[in-house]
Symmetry: D4
Subunit: 254 residues, 8 copies
């Protein structure tokens, strides 16, 4: 954006002050705010604003969602306790609460993207809450979702048997606690983008997910990227960013 030429245009009467204001107010990051209602943002980045409930009171969460609902059909909140859900459901319609992954969402069934599916692969049943946080987020954004749960490395045939299905996906999210070994194995089996999510499952020297996190960061399979411990939501958004990249024409409008 060339500020000088905009101003020359205004001075010459080729551009109204009002239109110039609009252009300049977008510069450089005017309407990219996270907590602020932002219609432009969704159409540009392809995903909705999400409320992190940690450290917020039920009233704050309900208030934010209620305000968002006036302009959005799709809503998503993570780390929502029952109290957050109850407060929000009193003021917003059609909010689903998923208690195990602590996800609170409002689905817009008309929201679908013509992209390949995103896979969520998990090592064990105990990783289910985080796997579901990822899967529910992907669905809410509107991308197709495939779940491959309980395929940890102690039984290699399980992950090997789904290799071809994973290769068809746009991005693969791998969720594992304890030793966090699964992403290295998956990263060696497929060519697709692999996003590893360490979970806090385990005890003692797993140090609430630190063992899995460090192992994933040190993965011997090249090209595996990592998100925060238990951050199923972040992995899902990263996968959607990647998946959208397959549809260049959609993004040219941004």
């Amino acid at each position: 954006m060339d500020i000088r030429s905009i101003l020359d245009d205004v001075a010459a009467g080729r551009l109204s002050a009002s239109d110039a204001h609009q252009k300049l107010s977008d510069w450089p990051a005017a309407d990219l705010g996270f907590a602020r209602i932002d219609n432009h943002r969704e159409s540009r980045t392809g995903f909705v604003e999400v409320v992190y409930c940690g450290g917020k009171t039920p009233e704050q969460v309900a208030g934010i969602l209620e305000r968002q609902w006036t302009t959005h059909k799709t809503l998503l909140a993570t780390r929502a306790e029952t109290a957050h859900a109850e407060a929000a459901q009193r003021v917003v319609g059609d909010l689903e609460y998923h208690a195990v992954p602590k996800v609170l969402r409002r689905l817009d069934s008309s929201r679908t993207h013509d992209v390949p599916p995103i896979a969520v692969v998990s090592a064990g049943t105990s990783d289910l809450p985080i796997s579901e946080e990822a899967a529910l987020t992907v669905e809410t954004v509107g991308h197709p979702m495939q779940r491959f749960y309980d395929v940890g490395v102690a039984g290699l045939h399980r992950v090997a048997s789904v290799r071809n299905q994973l290769e068809e996906c746009g991005a693969v999210i791998v969720v594992a606690g304890m030793d966090g070994a699964l992403p290295s194995v998956v990263g060696g089996l497929i060519s697709r983008p692999v996003i590893a999510v360490p979970t806090s499952i385990g005890y003692g020297a797993s140090f609430n997910g630190l063992a899995a996190l460090l192992g994933m960061l040190s993965s011997c399979a090249p090209g595996v990227t990592v998100v925060n411990i238990d951050n199923g939501f972040g992995a899902a958004i990263a996968a959607c960013r990647i998946n959208q990249a397959r549809v260049p024409q959609k993004l040219s409008g941004s």
Copy 2:
């Protein structure tokens, strides 16, 4: 791959035992080995095998590269000290050694992919060795590369001024040491996949990159993924995995 139908074909004489053996020996991970020469791998995953020189003697590195050269035009080795480079250059032709990023490579000029560019964004001049490790890897794989160096958050206008160029890229690698704040800012500015690389630049409480690593993992911008400290190579491979996903027809052959 449907094992049963292969076996039915063998039983029916439609497939020789020898051909079936070949098919089955590839299952489930037969030719995905890292240290083993693997022609199939390059055409399938889109990137070459890479030698990590850490903990290897110059003789070992030279031996591996020499053996790879018999079947590959493109070669890449990271963390190569001068001794590794000299040993390898004695037995392999046209090896370039980049001393600052410690990269040893053999470029194949005919290797180019029709994909969007990958961006490498760095916070400061001190991050240059890692930024270059990423950039040289991307070039070696054959993807277009754009460098945006020295645009740290202490002067926000710098990164803001390149925002539109970043939005055109297939994936954006952000390299930063010290507080590692740059990926959060970039992740808030663009919709493209963002891969954060913490560097060991800094001292004291930066703990050789730990501060940047933890900050990036805890990024307030959703969808930022992270690789290991100083792992420019891994970020580049991840970016290429993502970038290839834009060209579905290429991958259908795998």
Copy 3:
């Protein structure tokens, strides 16, 4: 203080033993005690003694405040649970309890300082308890206070839009959890003293505020100082120490 000349004065009868005792009993740190009732202290250092409730029983907290109330109009206690508040309110009049930031205080409305305002800037709504601990402390000390909440780096325009207002303040307290990136950005935007407060908001690799703490200590913006995780109180006192420095005549009496 020249001890010898004081003693010469006593020997010569120029100073009574009683007055000399008073002078010497102040040396070197006689009346600087924290937990001891100290009228001199407030007039000298400009802030009241504060009770840290962590590890104290409700009875202990109530007892200390009750005793302080005999000589002070202004009282402040931090990390006060409801039980502490109830016990104290039974014995001290006009005590306000702020449950979210866990602050218990008695305001003296006549206590105001002619100094510039102190700003509290926070990254997100979840940081509110710590931000309020800081803001309430500043108000209790009697300095003007300005709040700038929810201006995190994922939406840069928010903090940029308040830059000029921050530049007018005597000191700027920046409160942020997760990646702790906001102080680096603020430190690069203004020339005023910036005090960073990491919060324990976040999960996983934020390690209860460690990520934010290390990032702030490693800030690429020069001259940012840091206090303990969740230490809104400490940041407020530091800001008041700084702000008072603008009014030299007040301090000459100490």
Copy 4:
């Protein structure tokens, strides 16, 4: 800054496009860059741009300083090894190299500020390199400097005896390694802003300054702020930010 009114002024001819450009190009952080030559910056924030030599080659450091010298009389570089110094001295005149604190600077003797002195207090002789990094930085910025070295808490009378002198200073930098106890003692003795600098002096459980850092962050004296381990430079800039706040009229021009 009200963008709309600026644009209205341009549309109405009350403001030239050129002047408006100037105003808008400053928004929000246009000329606050760190590595970029910025005449405006010095007059506004009161301190020069500083080169951090860690991870930079001698050629890079010399190149940056040479370019800065064309517009600045005052230059400062920290963590400069002998090779950095020699390369820079070949291209820039009147550069002093201080080998122990690894500071490379060009003093402008006409640069003095009418502010109170800044004190650097150190616990032991081994902390001298970091203390000097702070002191030389303060001098280069042009503030008066007072050194109080080797006054650790094992001999309390030493720090007690300089208490009144410290109370006269605009800000007090306290440098200590090992247990890092000195800032708590100083913070209890004086009312002035106290900036604590942990040093990496010590061994074993001092963990290269971690013990001192954690102790200082946990100081029982309220209002002590902390900078990174061995960051004498950062403490000096923070002290200068504070010290300038005493001279409001000077800053009103920014």
Copy 5:
């Protein structure tokens, strides 16, 4: 397993496609899965599949055990809370719940191995929950068990007096918290395999078992191996792996 000969057999009609399918579907790790019902596994490796209850709901645990019970007489679940036990006992018969070590098991009294006993040695009474997790696991697998509790190094005669008994065992599990010194002493007294289990007993600098873990890993007695903090179960399985090695003919069938 020779794939080629299997395929030759199919081609020659010596083996049906169906039988070959069965054989090949087991390759390479087909029936080693952890969460999947696997009759083959028990006879080959000598121990039952075990359910880790951490992070699982009572319903999930009960469902898995109920399904296992259809094919197994022996069942074992670790880290079972009362709710897990109650849910499982409603659907599975003869389940014993041991509340202190949080073990839920179904013993098969006919399951005994003719092997030497396995010893569990513990340092103190507080280590009893973990010691019992190990002992109950060994019993469930069907190996003889000997308990030597409360023989910590503060009273050396206690462990010394049982030395000969330990020397008769097939493997010795040593459970200790706090300083974790007991395995070093036992490792120096006997020639048998020693498996050290650090426990989270202790406080402060024991860091929930980290002190014991690091000490055991750094043991001055050669040949001591270590499992995770509080991992009595893992130590028991490792001991059973070792103990079975004494009976080569049993394993030749695998």
Copy 6:
């Protein structure tokens, strides 16, 4: 103890086999056990066996104390919760329970030692539980006790004013949380043995006492020794070991 001469005495009939057995069974550490009833031990080492209640059930604690009571007048248990106390008081007479320091003890008023007093010095009121654990232990062993509470370094005159009294003590226990600076100051003021006890008082970067622990270990005052975080009991026993050393004739009987 000379084993050969004992055996010669038996061979020569000068010593019965039974008496020799008794002597030898004590060798080398026969009756030094911690959890075993040991009359010899008390007379030799001067302090009673102590029960650590952490990780023990109320029944286990009550059972151990009941058994000890048959031979001891003095009993001591640390980290006792109310449930432990109630269970024990049902079976043992005259047990006092101190709820704040979680100490359960039976005092023997006839047990006094003619030794100098032991001092417990604490930094703040919040350290009281640990200080009292130390003080109650010293009293139970039977040494004179002096308490100096709330004399932290933020008010140096407090500890300075008790220096002479500390110099009269046999050993000085210094209890402090947060920055843990007090032992360095005390160690510089007196010549007596100083035992530092870090407490878990504090938050954030105090990391549950780690900051105080590391600071005390790195103390700039030579000759300060340290015990575990919150280990008031251990410091008391160490002080009693030291104090007894003043009375050589008492120990010659051991």
Copy 7:
């Protein structure tokens, strides 16, 4: 050993005092010393005394080995630098020095045990020094050795293809750096005892082997035990302890 009956024998003249002395002087740990020459030890525990060269001067190492050589044919020293080797080779004959694994040994070719082989499995070429430390130790003790190098999880077919050979071994040592995922995979594939050795290979978040260590301790494959980072020697001794357990008659003499 029954002390009482020995003494009865002495009293009855059935045993001389001298013989009884000899028996008793061995109790409880008389000849189990590590640094002391001990002929009995080797025949009882099956492995030689080993010199750890870290922190020892070349003269100390040479002196110890020279003294051992007077009674032993087999000698072993680990972490030997060239200077250690040269000093030792001057005074001891037939010492081999292996520079890469830093092992110094004297082989006794007549020393062989009729036991199954021990396997050393390594993830990558960079792990070779530690793998060889393990392998050379096993050979020196006299057990058969099989090496399976460079079979990391990024190419699963490699380890899968050697599964049957591993199942024939008495114990399997698995050496891996970076993510340390290989032991989990091996532990899921075979029933034999698995000893995991984390190596310091890697950089950044591998933290010199910490990532691999934590991952191995948290392995999802039950029954994997772990030794210290880079402790190939310790793993070898543990494997030999296990392997000997297969030959009960040999051990009955101890």
Copy 8:
């Protein structure tokens, strides 16, 4: 010291101003400084001032020792490199340099104390440098010294055989690296004060002495105190503080 009565005495002419000055200048810590020459200090506390050479230049060390020599016959410096020693020996006579423990000292043969010996017990030969730092310090202070080296817990008979000798000592310093188990064993064998010194001997999970440090702090033997990693000097001074306490009459003069 009663300040009021001193002043009354001055006022009444019973005390000269000069004498009062002398008394008061000692209050509260006037002559306890560490780096300052202090004749009074040695006679009062019983040990000399010691120079820590870490972070000091050879010139600084030589200058301090030269100045001390004018008033002291006994000198001690720790962590002295060869360069420190050579610089100091040029300006001070009769300085001995011990290169392995890096101790530089000047012994005063007439300086002996009539106290029991202090023992230094070490686990292994590799701990010798730190053991000697402790032993040389004790000798320099003038206390009798007994060395018990290489008695680690892998061969318990060694430490057991010296138990009676240790019981005769005034204080026992126990030096150990790796698992740091020896102090727990010694603390259980004797009644004397035990000071544990962790050393940085070991590798991997010993984390430069952290394993030993944490183990010693968590010792199951009550009353063991700990000093910093590798701090033989500090342990020696602590032992001398304890040992002096046996001679009350000597200390009454202070």
